[in-house]
Amino acid sequence: MKATSTRVIASAVTALALVAASCGGSDDVADEPVDEPPAETQAEAEAEAPAVEPDAPAEASAEPIRIGIVAPSAENDLAWTQSMVDSVNRVAEGRDVEVAISGGLFVVEDAAAAIRGYAEDGFDLVIAHGTQFGGPLQEIADDFPEVAFALGTSTDFFGKENIYAYSVDAGEGGYVNGVMAAQLTQSNVIGVVGPVPAGDAKLYIDGFVAGALAQNPDVAVNVNYIDSFGDVLLASEAAKAFVQSGADVLTGTAQMVVGATGIAAEEGIPWFGTQSNQTGLGADIVVASQVYHWEVVLNTILDQIADGKLGGEAVVISLSNGGLEIEFNDGYALDAAIKASGIATIAGLSDGSITVPAGE
């Protein structure tokens, strides 16, 4: 009896341990999961602007456009989800929109329930901010043909007339950061902490490696995908391992990098950020951050919705369309020549004279 009971409890604990440990991993492919499965949609951010932008097609009705966002991580993660939250808030300054956000839905089934909930509640646009939500979104979209959905990062709208796909050329900012990082390193060893080799994380890291090697072929760029979007301690240990192996410049992507930036700050090692401006994680060590301006995507989609087009298109943000921006940290004393090379690289990528080679 006792042994049976032990086995039952042991099995339950193991199952819970594995499920919970997977909270730190990806649900599927791309973007950052974290945790907490709120069951219900919550309206957390409301922003209204008194007037519509003069050049934006008028949202003719008096009712604000209602946007629901479903995201896998916290709204203020200084990374993936915050990049969308910041963008939608910027859009709200110029448009009459009402925004509701459900963050922390790393469990795909919970996210699917929230997506369906927004659609049932009559939201005009439901944004599934995570590639892993693509599966359920395909089914939900068929049930609500009058609702526009958006899925990112993805370039596939599954042939649906009411799904927009949006994506980011994260490799561009990675390339710029890599060019500058290769000039900052003294040891010729650079460390990169990533979650899983997929989605915008892989694009950023591949671009970073390409940029660093284009600038200095002798640089060794070591990449560690730690197979987790949420394990901060593991990211911290990965950064320590890089430092111990001689790395003197670090970068990384996804929300668990707050562990790695802590090591960078402790060791005084320059850090390059992505997704959101990460200067707050280390005013002395963050050199520059690639910032996602999803408002390019949002404005495009909202314009088309106003024209009656609910989907069937992919929108990509890049340096050239203003969807990506490299924000330098004024608090970091970056050598003027290195900064100039970064700016020149941005210009080259924007006008097409420089292209980011495709990753493996």
């Binding site: 032990t6 192996s245 707050v258 994680l281």
Partner: protein, 310 residues
């Protein structure tokens, strides 16, 4: 592969494994004490989160990690009292109550973080403390004696917990109420008071495990613990309810994690192989749990509430 078998990499890997194993060890030791008295607490993860947030927030506000640790101790004691009320007074089923505690910790820390902190802000943790003389021993010093205070504290607790359980009257009471509470009761041992004490100790240690984690990485974010509390509970079974066994499990888990990390850092394993290797600690735990659960019996009254009138 040869790159891995260099002295400097092996030393770094072992030191990293010890750091990674510390939260498991602290939480696992506390859970061991509780389970030896017949109390299963599946809410360790939630208490760890609460401890992590309280240590982080107090440190953020006061600038002192020591105050942060005191904050975590207070929170741990409060959560121990709450769990004791639920299970000892209200006689709620332990497994479900523990899951409730976990969900509470997960949601409440997220709420507090969103409302009181917002965007992640780094804090200054405890920092490394080099043990005089010992830390200067080549290689050995680097592996064992150049860590933060919670690491030393956790490993120092291992023999203390062993001594308390096996060599003290209190430990005898713990074992008695964990095996046959009715018999212990007839001998004048207060089953509920003994269990209350182990719950307070276990909860405080879980909270300290969370604090150790937050102060090690110098930051807090939603679900910082990423399932470590559940792994700690699994390690109690892994360690067959013995403090040294739990330490072995925590070290094994931490060192396997650190090894995988180093292999990936050095570029020795990549792609699908790296993902397979990342599963190694979990697979190892399952295998050992299967073996242990067949050979070692759990405390006889584990999860069984005690009601004198029943």
């Amino acid at each position: 592969m040869g790159d891995f078998f260099t002295v400097s990499v092996l030393v770094a890997t072992l030191a990293s494994g010890i750091r990674l194993g510390t939260p498991f060890l602290l939480a696992g030791l506390g859970e061991t004490i509780g389970q030896r008295s017949g109390v299963l607490n599946l809410g360790v993860e939630g208490v760890m989160l609460l401890g992590a947030f309280s240590a982080y927030y107090v440190t953020l506000e006061t600038g002192s990690a020591v105050y942060g640790i005191f904050g975590a101790i207070v929170v741990g004691l409060i959560m121990g009292l709450v769990y004791a009320f639920i299970t000892l007074v209200m006689h709620a089923q332990q497994g479900i109550s523990g899951i409730g505690m976990y969900l509470f910790g997960l949601g409440f820390t997220d709420l507090l973080f969103q409302k009181n902190v917002g965007t992640p802000k780094p804090i200054r943790g405890l920092g490394e403390v080099n043990i005089p003389l010992l830390s200067d021993i080549p290689k050995v010093g680097e592996i064992f004696f150049q860590h933060s205070l919670p690491v030393y504290f956790a490993f120092a607790l291992v023999p203390l917990v062993w001594f308390m359980i096996n060599k003290t009257t209190f430990g005898l009471n713990i074992r008695a109420v964990g095996e046959t509470p009715e018999a212990a009761d007839t001998l004048g041992v207060s089953v509920n008071m003994t269990r209350l004490a182990t719950m307070l100790i276990g909860s405080t240690m879980a909270s300290l495990a969370g604090a150790a984690l937050a102060l090690e990485v110098g930051i807090f974010q939603q679900n910082l613990t990423s399932g470590q509390g559940f792994i700690a509970i699994a390690l109690v079974y892994f360690g067959a309810w013995r403090s040294y066994g739990v330490m072995l499990g925590a070290l094994l888990f931490g060192i396997v994690q650190a090894t995988v990390l180093q292999l990936k850092t050095l570029g020795i394993v990549e792609g699908a192989n790296s993902s397979l290797l990342a599963m190694a600690p979990a697979v190892l735990t399952i295998v050992v749990l299967v073996i242990v659960s067949r050979r070692v019996a759990a405390p006889g009254a584990l999860t069984r509430p005690f009601d004198r009138s029943a």
